[in-house]
Amino acid sequence: MAEMSLPDLVGSILGFSLTLMVFSYVFGDNALFRATIHLFIGAAAGYAAVVAWYNVTWPQLFLPLILGSQSERLYALFPLVLSGLLLFKISPRLSGYGSPAVAYLVGVGAAVAIGGAVLGTIFPQTLATINLLDLEAIRQSGETPLWLLIQGLLIILGTVTTLAYFHFGARQKLDGSAKRAEWIEILALIGQVFIAITLGVVLAGVFTSALTALIERVNYIADFILPLITGQ
């Protein structure tokens, strides 16, 4: 183990201790785990606030107001007013005055989300699904065309049936019940299979990430303990 400064040593001990305290949750909820969580939340919130101040609020709002030119000040006036209104959200009694700022954020966010959804997902993904049957692209890929076509058809089938599963429009029958059309029900059933496969892959991926984190933590513990044991 390399020579460690005192802060690093203390930090290592602290990290090691906190790791074990979190692992104690396996045996059940306890005070050590709760204390660790609260410590983490406080530190994370404080660091986030400092980063936001250092990165955004101070250089882009207050500095232009203080040291900036007139145009920069005017430019900073609008976010200043909105930020001031947003601060009213802290008080439940005066939170109504912060609604305009929230509305501005929601409106801009909705617009950006629409643009991104349409230009970034709907068009490209639809095009990608269509192009699965592009023979030219298949030929250029160098792979077996039949196999690619089958894959393409399966992808198209999966995509369409998955979308059909999320179609919940139904007509109300005379007896008051609402049920989807039979052909949509068949497509939805097939889509459920694809969704089950996708969600299985997602779960496996999440577990993989968690397992990697566990490996990293165990490695961290090993890096702390082994030098103490071996003296290296």
Binding site: L18, Y25, F40, G42, G46, G120, I155, A204
Partner: protein, 168 residues
């Protein structure tokens, strides 16, 4: 972005208010609130004085925040295995069986088994890769398109004033 950073400040302020109230009212668990506020204030002071990427703020980040968050993610693996194992006890149908089989295939196909890669199972042409590239992509694409269409509809409703999540 400035307004968004202000929203972050409001979130931190609300966190302080809630836990300060718990301390003042001496509710159960107020000792934890004391620890939270102490850590927040210390981090604010240290990072504010030295900067977010200075030594001591990074020391706090590397030795407190990162170990805790990584450990939380690590114990998630135990929970995920437990929930996957009990899935079939709660419900046995086609979809739960397909789900479990896919999970097993992906896990086993992620790496060699005892150092042995099974042909047709492992590798870029193996079963795992095929599942990842065809049915998973199909399902994910359908989900992405569905999410995009929902985002489009919800965004239009917000812009037209039908939904008002910001209040009246």
């Amino acid at each position: 972005m400035i307004v968004a950073s202000t929203a972050l400040f409001i979130g931190v302020a609300n966190l302080l208010r809630v836990h300060w109230g718990k301390i003042r009212m001496a509710r159960p668990g107020s000792a934890y609130s004391v620890l939270l506020i102490v850590s927040l204030v210390v981090t604010l002071v240290v990072a504010g004085l030295f900067g977010p990427t200075a030594y001591w703020p990074m020391w706090i980040f590397n030795n407190i925040q990162l170990p805790i968050e990584s450990s939380l993610m690590a114990i998630l693996s135990v929970v995920l295995i437990y929930s996957a194992a009990r899935l079939l006890r709660r419900r046995i149908d086609l979809f739960s069986v397909v789900f479990t089989i896919v999970v097993l295939i992906i896990l086993l196909g992620s790496g060699p088994i005892f150092g042995i890669e099974i042909p047709g199972f492992h590798g870029p042409d193996g079963l795992r890769a095929l599942i990842m590239q065809v049915p998973a992509v199909a399902g994910a694409r359908g989900i992405l398109l569905g999410v995009a269409l929902g985002t489009l509809a919800t965004g239009l409703r917000v812009l037209m004033g039908v939904d008002r999540p910001y209040g009246r």
